[in-house]
């Protein structure tokens, strides 16, 4: 695996029981870049995302065939601990899901359980600043995180994710539950975060994919239809299906 890859999948098949959701997915994720996964509902893009930090392990009766490489190791090797993978490959979910605890604790908890020994107050502050949330919440760090607005909660979830210093951040439609202004803030944030982290984002919003991502992969029915640089893919799709999808003919 080349050193400029954050992650890589090779011939990845995924099954929910008897239903196959992914077929031979081979995909490279560039380091410190944003990769967008697009496609209609049920095409397997979220499933792939959840394969990348073994979140699918939590769903009973699922099966993975193939490889997901992270730092030259197949994360599905039996000796790999999924807990370790999930710390290094963080995840932001569709619906903001902060812990029902204080804002401070939301950031501090993940760091604490992962053995953080430094200055916790400083970590909370930098994490919140990186997510452009510090100014809004600095006076009420002890308040419950659920008292924040949806957009603030989602930025808090991103701050929580970066507080444990992952290498990769997975985002599963992070703005689909948010209003346009909050969405714009998150998109801005994604562009800043890619300086430090590799980001893989699933989105239904093609404009969003075009705005924030460097590469895009288009999925259909569990297969990759087309992968390429985002500009190229949106300007000159090679496949007819891609063209049809990005021009809004289905999906």
């Amino acid at each position: 695996m080349e050193s400029n890859l954050a992650m890589q999948t090779k011939d990845l098949d995924f099954f929910y029981g008897d239903f196959q959701a992914l077929f031979k997915v081979s995909l490279d994720f560039q380091i410190k870049q944003v990769t967008a996964l697009i496609g209609p509902s049920g095409c397997g893009k979220s499933t792939l995302l959840r394969c990348l930090n073994r979140m699918n392990d939590l769903i009973p009766d699922t099966k993975v065939i193939g490889q997901v490489s992270f730092e030259n190791v197949n994360i599905y090797n039996p000796e790999v601990d999924p807990v370790e993978i999930r710390r290094r490959v963080g995840m932001v979910f569709q619906k903001p899901n902060p812990f029902p605890k204080s804002i401070y604790e939301n950031i501090a908890w993940g760091a604490r359980i992962n053995g953080f020994r430094g200055d916790m107050d400083a970590l909370v502050e930098t994490s919140l600043k990186r997510c452009a949330l510090w100014d809004e919440v600095k006076g009420k760090l002890r308040q419950n995180a659920l008292s924040l607005s949806g957009g603030q909660q989602q930025r808090l979830c991103i701050a929580r994710t970066i507080a444990v210093e992952p290498d990769v951040i997975l985002m599963d439609e992070p703005t689909s539950a948010l209003d346009p202004i909050s969405t714009a803030k998150i998109e801005e944030l994604i562009l800043e975060l890619k300086e430090r982290y590799s980001i893989i984002i699933v989105t239904h919003n093609m404009q969003q994919a075009a705005r924030v991502s460097d590469q895009t992969a288009f999925f259909l029915n569990g297969f990759i239809v087309e992968v390429g640089a985002t500009k190229e893919l949106f300007a000159n799709p090679k496949e007819d299906k891609t063209k049809a999808y990005i021009s809004g003919q289905f999906g």
Binding site: M55, F93, G110, N114, Q143, R160
Partner: protein, 420 residues
């Protein structure tokens, strides 16, 4: 297609109005049924409470063997000092009895209160000749007063069968001196054992079944089906189980002989600990089921957010799932324990004593509990026992209500602290 064919949804204004009216009528009929059901429930509760209060208060006709006025000029025993009271006891009681009293506790060492009680019980010897219900006391007062006036040497007083005296007095063969102290202590001990045993075990089992057990393995399915069935088993069966397992099988432990060989062997393991363990078993399935429902109600997103920052399963359960479900777990436990407090049948089988006059000294003491005491009193032929049974029911109700209130306040306080 013919032009006369109308759209299937087409209705004239009148048709639509009639249709809506019919739908509203149906709704009203159901609404009435719901009101009716609630009304019947409230009515039966009121009848139940009235029935209890009817027995717990009312006029009593008391005849004293010796009038207090004959003992002290004012007619009030409290006006006498210790020496005066001892003098009365020695005057009215045989020398043998006085020796026995002294052997129990020297009279000179007894407090004035204790002496007054002794004089009341042994010398004055009030006998309740007749007791009336609250209903009669209110509506047939004239008749009652007439009866009282007819009989000599009697006093008519309005008596509340439930009083502080009633709560702190031990069991006694005569109803006007009997109290629920021993039964109340027995019940409190039992609640303590049930809580200590059933709560942690039930929550732990629920966590295993909900968070760790894979639903596919046959033994987990078997456990699950069995727990649901166990919750429906009649409580007397648990009594039989407790009798075989705790009273007989573990007699050396439950009789306390294991720890203290000099212990009273006659208890045979029919002790508070046996009863507590039996009731703990009885409510274990309830706690497990309630706690599982509570854990199940925690959304997947909370677990995922915890895993996503690199938490282990145990950290996820301990830091997020349990705290978030704690209120519901506690509510389920309160309900289960309330059920244990009211259980009678299994305790009869396990061997609750019906007549205990001394406080339970340890977990390995003979015991009785409030429901047993009520059951036993209400089965007595003398009508006055029904009055004290009604009094005991009120005490039991107050006990349960205050327990539940305490638990709810605690729960709300925990919830509030967590939300900050």
């Amino acid at each position: 297609m013919s032009k006369t064919k109308t759209h299937p949804m087409a209705r004239t204004h009148e048709e639509l109005a009639a249709l809506i009216h019919r739908r509203r009528q149906t709704g009203k009929v159901w609404q009435l049924a719901f009101y009716g059901a609630t009304g019947i429930a409230i009515l039966s509760l009121i009848v139940l409470l009235l029935n209890i209060f009817n027995g717990a208060f009312g006029f009593v006709l008391i005849q004293n063997e010796v009038e207090p006025a004959d003992l002290v000029a004012s007619g009030n025993l409290a006006d006498l000092d210790q020496a005066g009271l001892i003098a009365i006891i020695e005057e009215y009681q045989s020398a043998g009895l006085v020796r026995r009293f002294n052997a129990e506790k020297p009279l000179a060492n007894r407090s004035e209160r204790e002496l007054i009680d002794l004089v009341e019980e042994r010398v004055v010897k009030p006998v309740i000749i007749q007791a009336w219900s609250l209903q009669d006391s209110i509506f047939r007062q004239n008749e009652i007063r007439a009866v009282a006036a007819d009989s000599d040497l009697t006093t008519l007083t309005f008596r509340s069968w439930v009083s502080w005296e009633f709560v702190v007095s031990p069991q006694n063969p005569s109803p006007q001196f009997a109290g629920v102290r021993t039964a109340l202590l027995g019940s409190l001990w039992m609640i303590l054992i049930v809580m200590v045993v059933a709560f942690p075990m039930g929550v732990a089992a629920a966590i295993y079944l909900e968070e760790y057990a894979t639903k596919k393995t046959w033994y987990n399915r078997l456990i699950e089906v069995n727990i649901y069935n166990l919750a429906g088993i009649p409580s007397i069966i648990y009594g039989l189980l407790g009798l075989a397992l705790f009273v007989r099988g573990m007699a050396p432990f439950t009789s306390g002989a294991m720890f203290d060989p000099t212990v009273d062997e006659t208890t045979n393991g029919r002790t508070i600990i046996s009863a507590g363990l039996t009731l703990a078993l009885l409510i274990l399935p309830l706690i497990i089921i309630n706690s599982r429902e509570a854990l199940k109600a925690i959304p997947k997103s909370l677990r995922e957010s915890s895993y996503a920052v690199g938490a282990t399963k145990w950290q996820t359960v301990w830091h997020h799932v349990l705290p978030a479900s704690f209120e519901r777990v506690l509510t389920g436990t309160i309900l289960a324990i309330s059920r244990a407090v009211g259980e009678t049948a299994p305790l009869v089988v396990v061997g609750a004593s019906t007549f205990v006059t001394f406080d339970p000294a340890s977990l390995f003491a003979k015991f009785t509990t409030m429901p047993i005491q009520i059951y036993q009193w209400s089965a007595r032929p003398q009508s006055q026992f029904r009055n004290i049974a009604a009094g005991a029911i009120i005490v039991l109700l107050i006990l349960m209500l205050s327990m539940n209130a305490f638990a709810i306040i605690m729960r709300n306080r925990i919830a509030k602290e967590r939300r900050v």
